[in-house]
Amino acid sequence: MIQPIALEIIVVCLGILLLMVEAFSSKTSKTPLAYAAILGLSVVFVLTFFVQPSAAGLQESGFYVLDPLALFFKRFALVATIVTLVLALDYLPIVQRLVPGERPGAGSGEFFILPVFTCAGLMWMASAADFIVIFCALELVTISLYVQVAYLRRSIASLEAGTKFLILGALSTGFFVYGITWIFGTVGQTGLEAIRQALPGVPEAAQPAMIFGVALVLVAIGFKIAAAPFQFWVPDVYQGAPTPVTAYLAVASKAAGFVILIRVLEPFFTVIAFQEKLFLALVLLAGLTLLFGNLAAIPQTNFKRLMGYSSVAHAGYLLVGLAAIGDAFAGRAVVFYLCGYLLMTFLAFLILVPVSKASGGDDIANFNGLARRSPALALAMLIAAASLAGVPFTVGFFGKFFIFEAAMKQELFGLVLLGVVTVACGFYYYFKVIRAMYWQPASEDAAPVQVSVLSRLAIAICAVLILVLGFYPQLLIQILP
């Protein structure tokens, strides 16, 4: 048996080691670094199965928990990072073109190493049970992501995305810290467990201060999970960032945000005085996010931007699930949705990278005629789009079904009806991609799409999992915390 905290330490050490190797090796090819990172993270992934979820020593200090939820999200973060590295390998030629160095290959090594640090932050975040730890982990994730978003030095879009992400991210961090201080000022604690115990004793006069603090924290997390009205950064950053980073942002960063949201809100939901207000806030947030994400996605023509709005939309469905958290199944429904979201989003990006390499752009029009150019890839994209839209026999459908089911049990009829309208919007904009692939003829100069072996493997696994879980979701449900 290994100490649970060892997992994060191993990941950080792996990152440092790779950085050192990168700095002192004279090799021009940086791909071995990526393979080493993938291998290392896979080893850590295996190691997570040898960790006892009830390692008491650290838990008593109250800032680090290792419950099944934490363990599950550590694995989630590891898988997401591994797939991101696979994406990054495919994306390397573009990085090399847009990050010129004095020596060939210089400046592209960190592109594979930074996600490792982000991964460590995400894993920490999954276990954090104290506002201070949450803050530190959040910063580790966000700061390493700032660099990754702005990585393509010669691309104005990437720089613009980086600046936007930095400024708005810093602002949200400010909100977060300020919120923590208000909460701390009211109860004198930063540990979530301690706050839970202190909450019932909060005098009525101090409750507005508490609610103000929680609201500020909610704003900051709303920024991370891209919930409306804190989603302004999403389209530009998603479009400008290197595609692997976009995928990483869409999946890992959002999932981590939801874990924090679950953890932070949990103590406040136990107190009746806050329950109603929080519930109202979540319902409003969910409704706005659903509406904005889906409506704004309709006219998009750029695929990455579309995925940006789609990520806002999916945050909306997840928030509906959170608003229904009173139901016994809702927690699992949210986690199930996140897993499905990981599969389908990565699948879409895994296909986008080679397609945009072959046709030279990220627009939906670049998918034109893909069904004739490479039918297998088109079929995989068809599965991804169908799942994102929520067509039955895909994991996306079951995700939506579980969430709607929980919401109806909690009698959130307004949100559910809104959800149906937005699902209809979703069908329209996801099917635009299918239309491009199947209805439209390919442009004359379109090059054949080349896909690396590793990507092919990842695409096949994602596509098959989407279909299998779309028929037999129990496979995943039974391992959910």
């Binding site: 199944f329 709607f404 309208v421 129990q474």
Partner: protein, 496 residues
Amino acid sequence: MSPLLFLILVPILSAALVMAGANPRFTALLGAAVNVLLFGALAFFFNPLQEGFQFVSSFPVVPDLGIGFTLGADGLSMVMLFLSVVVTLAAIAVARTPVDGARWFYASLLFISAGVVGAFASVDVFFFYMFHELALIPTFLLIGIWGSGDKQAAAWKATVYLATGSFVLLLGLIGLYLIQPVDARSFDLRQIVAHADAGLIYDSPVVYLLLLVGFGILVSLFPFHTWAPQAYASAPAPAAMLHAGVLKKFGLYGLIRIAAPVLPESVQAFLPLLLVLLIGNIIYVGYVTIAQRKLDWMLGYSSVMHMGYIFLGFAALNEISLTGASVMLLSHGLTVAVLFALCGEIRERTGTLDFSELGGLARTAPRLGLAFGFAAMASVGLPGFVGFAAELMVFFGSFAGAPPAMGIFDGKEVFSFNFLQIGTICAVWGIVISAIYMLRGYRLIFMGPVQERWSSIGDIGGISQAAVVLLIGIMLLFGFFPQTLVNLVTPALILP
């Protein structure tokens, strides 16, 4: 394992083979033929005297929510399965292999077929729903790529309509799940009906309305019908046959199967609303059909119009009317499939379906004309075709569906009509309407002087002819022996 599983797997495997590189047309045709034979074997072993579902097999999928992959068939499902496999065979037989993307074309058709077979073979309401949605993407591709006319608009409209309808329906099904007693909730139809029998289900009007609107959109109930004529007019003939002939029956089948036994009070409570809507289907859409100037649009609207009769049979909620509605699911499916097949043949030969450009085709293509005449008559409801028996039962059943209302006239109590009877009287007028547009369509296309440019078109023949003859033969056969169907269907109906 239920033998019904093979009925679903054969089209899926055929589609996989087609995608993997087998000869598309031959493989698809073979798969459809194998399915017909399989169904024949099933029908041989099916015991019509036994109550409840046969060939049942179950596999829990989400035990927490009572969802299982449960297959089974009773008399009504056998009739629908028969319709599915026969129309699939006919649709693939009359299909013209497109130059571009033949694999996707046949694979899409096979997927729709797998979806309808799966839906009608499901005992679990959830999978019943899921299988129906299997057709969503194939339909989008079939209309969008190989359609005609304003195909893209048609494909978009149909897809968004159907997706919205299906999610409304999903809410209805979730509602159906939630109104069951807390510790025994299930999606298994047998259990839901058992709960309803035991009086454990709260007869919720909201759930019924969700189901009615959800199924209604899928069945093109007025005023949610506008997607259908456009989609059918644009779709390639085999897609229209499968969609209008089989897939659309899903919604009414669902209402007869689920709403009638489980939510009878709500059905009664909303009877006036449903009557108004279905009269909208029959009369309003009927007159719209008369106004059409192109055959494909006319058939599209006519298939929407005929849904009204089946809704009437459902609304009256008694044994005769429900039996009539169920038989009409089959008769309308066969009729509309023949009509769309022939419509495709005409389009193939002339390139236009505009009444003003056609005329006299019966001289140059007499067999085509004869077949169309048969189908048109069947559609109107001529005795001898199975549609007649169905319409008769629907009208008789619905007219006797409620006790006659008594009115006071001149101080004396006199006999007067109740809502249902007034609705039935309006609906009977629909027969006149359909006779008008069908006969007029027949006259404009097939009679009159032959135009110069149509003087050398070929007649129907070969495998398409065989498919059309098969469908017409079945219509005639059951038209003369409708009791076979009634014997199958009636025991399967669960009356409130």
